[in-house]
């Protein structure tokens, strides 16, 4: 098992600019079941992808691929025609929240928003629109979700992953790669790695993911990577302390970040003395989470947590 995505996930891509095109190609090379494109001005045509197969991905495929993805004007039409159950967004920030809502309206199970820089007010609306629906939003401003060997949705480099025993949850893209890389080198591998994103308003938080990994038979331990700003890590620590049976390791970025400054991510800011790395690390320690001192020690921390 795994969480969120597997070999049955059928993925649409919303927004096919340069970035969307590059990463759609990488996803196909990995073996992700990409089934269509939503791009109103190119509707009715096809998008062609070919190249060498990434054999770190889905096993048992030919060495090359050549795929033509149909392009649709709307998500609804794309879902009807392709049977897609997930979408990935590379839509530019001014239009991204609307694209999320369109995907929700079309009834997709999973929407992964890669886009960075969506206005907070737009995300507040999109989040409200999500309420009461069965769609799960991952992101925005995130690297995506990957279940190694089955499905890669997003911008993470596929080859650093290896199917294994650990669930990964992170607010930071590149720190997710650090953790994944170390887990692979240590032979622990990953069940699923989820980038929840660096924005202050996101679709899925640490606790949501911890619940999924707790319920997943294949996952034996979880590593959670947080950063300054907000109290999502403290909430996660409380969940781990009171509800979680599986071992958890973690890391918090931003110990040296000056207060009042936004550290790259819209959500990474210590304001009014709240959201400090120290408070998060303390809460995690108290919950029995093994916290790595530097990102280079994240894999080792997971080994210690597993005991």
């Amino acid at each position: 098992m795994s969480v969120l995505v597997d070999k049955n996930t059928r993925v649409l891509v919303q927004g096919l600019g340069k970035t969307g095109e590059f990463h759609t190609d990488k996803a196909i090379a990995y073996g992700t079941e990409m089934v269509g494109v939503v791009h109103p001005t190119r509707a009715g045509t096809e998008a062609h992808f070919d190249g060498e197969t990434d054999h770190s991905g889905v096993p048992g495929r030919d060495d090359t691929y050549s795929v033509d993805l149909p392009i649709f004007a709307t998500v609804k039409e794309a879902v009807e025609e392709t049977g897609a159950n997930a979408s990935v967004l590379y839509v530019p920030p001014p239009f991204a929240a609307d694209a999320i809502m369109e995907a929700v309206a079309a009834g997709l199970d999973l929407v992964v928003a890669i886009t960075e820089g969506i206005p907070v007010a737009d995300m507040i609306e999109a989040k409200r629109y999500l309420q009461g629906t069965n769609t799960r939003l991952i992101g925005p401003n995130c690297p995506g979700v990957i279940t190694p060997g089955e499905c890669k949705i997003g911008i993470m480099p596929g080859y650093i992953h290896e199917r294994g025993r650990i669930g990964v949850i992170s607010r930071s893209g590149t720190l997710t790669y650090e953790a994944v890389h170390q887990l692979t080198l240590l032979g622990l591998g990953q069940t699923t790695a989820v980038g929840i994103g660096g924005d202050p308003v996101n679709g899925t938080n640490f606790v949501d993911c911890l619940k999924m990994f707790e319920a997943d038979d294949e996952t034996e331990g979880v590593i959670m990577i947080g950063e300054i700003g907000g109290t999502a890590e403290e909430d996660a620590a409380e969940y781990v302390r009171s509800q979680m049976s599986k071992p958890v390791a973690g890391f918090i970025a931003g110990t040296t970040a000056p207060p009042g400054k936004r550290m790259g991510h819209a959500g990474a800011i210590v304001s009014g003395g709240k959201g400090t790395a120290e408070a998060k690390i303390e809460a995690m320690n108290e919950a029995g989470i093994v916290v790595a001192e530097t990102p280079s020690d994240m894999g080792e921390a997971m080994v210690r947590a597993l005991g």
Partner: protein, 408 residues
């Protein structure tokens, strides 16, 4: 993005939120010239002279050059001496304030230069309250925060008497509902004419936050006058940078003299850069990794000179600019490039580094750690360039190497 108090009040007034009458002055003469029309219009002989900087605590702050002068001054000379006495007092104070360095609890020891003043009518205060609109991350909604403890630091109130802070969630589809405004009125103990005025004020403020894409609107203090008027005596506003594209009028309010020049150059190049006090320059992709790189440098005994995230989709040109910005900081004794390519490709970073060094030269040691998308291509580009670069295998390895190489 932050704006000045006088700009915030202008935006609030345009949305039906009462603010005191005032005029902005960039010179002593302009400040003096503001006095008579202000007194005529307000009918109050008292005026207030306020330093305009992007930092709080101005009322208690003092000037480096004139430790006896505060950042905000209430001028009552006119009560007995008439407008000309007020003008004289404004002239003397403005001379000291304009161009002076104001040090407040929020500016740090170095203080901030005051380049403009706000000359405002005096207000007869009956009661001071606190009101703010900000994002509540736990619920993904904006909330109104209100407190009876106006005019003091809200962080202190939150710490010492958290029950004195009231919260009301703003539904994005509805705004602040009338019943929510009435509940605040009731719990803050506001009555009479002021109750109606406050309810209107707080609902307009909630709408303003949504319409203007603010990160934060803080009215501290909000005052109730003896006649029941509800007025924003101070006004602090900051905006969601990601939404500025739809508010060109607000984007134009940016006061670049308030920004660090290197941070400004980085911003204009689409880079996230924050200057720090250390000696190890960092060039990293991804905000989380950039923070963690700083943390690791500190952990192995060094001090980071900056936070720099080149972002996910940086071009070789942007990397070159990033390199130039880091090398412009004279305290940088070594540079650590730490890249884990996902959306960012290692070959793009490598090309940018090579171009940057060719263009601006390199006088300090450089440690590069590349991993991820197109890593082999990236390593090849650096190797073939013949640059003097030390390779690192991991973040920690890189931090240790740059610390050793940059040691005096």
């Amino acid at each position: 993005m932050k704006i000045h108090e006088h700009q915030a009040k202008q935006l609030l007034a345009a949305r039906g939120i009462p603010v005191p009458l005032g005029r902005v002055a960039r010179s002593v003469d302009e400040a003096v010239a503001a006095v008579r029309p202000l007194i005529d219009e307000s009918g109050n002989p008292v005026v207030v002279l306020k330093s305009q900087i992007h930092a709080g605590g101005r009322g208690k702050g003092t000037f480096k050059e004139h430790p006896d002068v505060r950042g905000v001054n209430v001028i009552t000379d006119g009560v007995e001496g008439g407008p000309s006495a007020t003008e004289e007092a404004v002239r003397e104070l403005a001379k000291k304030m304009l161009g002076g360095t104001l040090v407040t609890i929020q500016t740090g020891e170095e203080g901030k230069q005051v380049n403009r003043l706000y000359v405002e009518q005096g207000i007869d205060i009956a009661r001071e309250l606190y009101l703010a609109v900000l994002l509540d991350r736990a619920t993904s909604r904006n909330i109104v925060m209100a407190s009876t403890e106006g005019g003091v630091e809200i962080e202190k109130v939150a710490e010492e008497t958290p029950d004195k802070i009231l919260r009301a969630q703003i539904d994005p589809a509805i705004g602040l509902a009338p019943f929510q405004a009435n509940e605040l009125v009731h719990r803050l103990g506001i009555d009479g004419e002021a109750a109606k005025n406050f309810a209107r004020f707080v609902r307009n403020l909630a709408d303003a936050a949504t319409e203007l894409d603010t990160d934060l609107i803080e009215i501290n203090p909000l005052v109730i006058t003896k006649t029941g008027e509800v007025i924003a005596l101070d006004g602090k506003m900051s905006f969601d940078d990601n939404a500025l594209y739809r508010h060109p009028d607000i984007a134009d309010m940016r006061d670049e003299t308030e920004d660090d020049p290197l941070e400004l150059a980085a911003k204009n190049a689409g880079l996230n850069y924050i200057k720090l006090d250390g000696t190890i320059g960092c060039l990293v992709n991804g905000a989380g990794l950039a923070m963690a790189t700083m943390d690791t440098i500190k952990h192995v005994g060094g001090e980071p000179a900056n936070f720099l995230d080149v972002g996910g989709g940086a071009t070789a040109d942007q990397v070159t600019t990033a390199f130039q910005i880091i090398t412009k900081d004279p305290s940088v004794k070594g540079i650590f490039v730490n890249i884990f390519g996902g959306i960012m490709r290692c070959d793009v970073i490598a090309t940018g580094i090579v171009e940057a060094v060719e263009r601006v030269g390199l006088e300090v040691p450089l440690v590069v750690r590349l991993e991820g998308t197109n890593v082999e291509e990236g390593k090849r580009i650096i190797e073939e360039s013949g640059l003097e670069v030390t390779n690192a295998d991991s973040l920690r390895d890189g931090a240790e190497k740059i610390l050793e190489l940059s040691a005096p």
